[in-house]
Symmetry: C2
Subunit: 129 residues, 2 copies
């Protein structure tokens, strides 16, 4: 598929897709005319990238971890460098921290919303009565 279709299917502006390519995240092959040609499995990839960026993971890091996530479970190349492993551990921990932060704050918001809903319901009932 070409860039426009991928943009629709992954709900990602073409501008961003080209930017991701510039960052080495999604590098499509080219047709004779120079058009970018994307394989269908890249839809998920684009969505994944968007989600990660939106969650505060910079493209440089995404570029590092994507190849690892691509491999089938438990497959590790022989030439794995301990330096990359350190980065991965670090990023894993950062993500865990983010998850904790987001979870705590989301739960607080959720609680607030429920309280507000309850208050609103009470007020409505009172008005009706």
């Amino acid at each position: 598929m070409r860039i426009g279709e991928l943009a629709k299917l992954s709900n990602t502006p073409t501008r961003s897709l080209r930017y991701y390519e510039e960052q080495g995240l999604i590098v499509p092959r080219r047709l004779e005319n120079g058009y970018r040609e994307y394989d269908p499995y890249l839809i998920d990839r684009a969505i994944q990238i968007r989600g990660l960026i939106d969650s505060g993971v910079p493209t440089k890091i995404i570029a590092l971890i994507l190849p690892c996530l691509d491999k089938p479970r438990g497959i590790v190349p022989d030439d794995i460098q301990p330096e990359l492993l350190t980065i991965l551990r670090d990023e894993r921990d950062k993500m865990t921290q983010r998850i904790d932060f987001l979870t705590r704050n989301r739960d607080s918001i959720a609680t607030y919303i429920e309280a507000a809903d309850a208050a609103l319901a009470r007020r409505t009932a009172a008005t009706v009565a």
Copy 2:
């Protein structure tokens, strides 16, 4: 405490603290000399803000939700506007999405790390033997 101490305790550059003030997130009172004076409870607040920003929540949104998180559990002002409630619901859902994204990817990374560790251990054992 003054801005330097808060910076150390919350591990946040003074530049960012002033920026947060500009965005209305933490507005300290001022001493006679013009120095910013922070209450100790703002340490947690600064950390919280940093965590949210790092997790992809923009300061405009943080400014909206912070007041809600400040209230003791279940306390909702009488004049709650349904418009704010809509924003809160939206943000709650976005955060849930982020949490899911991060969790999935973190788990994948963790799995990869474990596999790499195992592979490394095997190789070390083989080398020794």
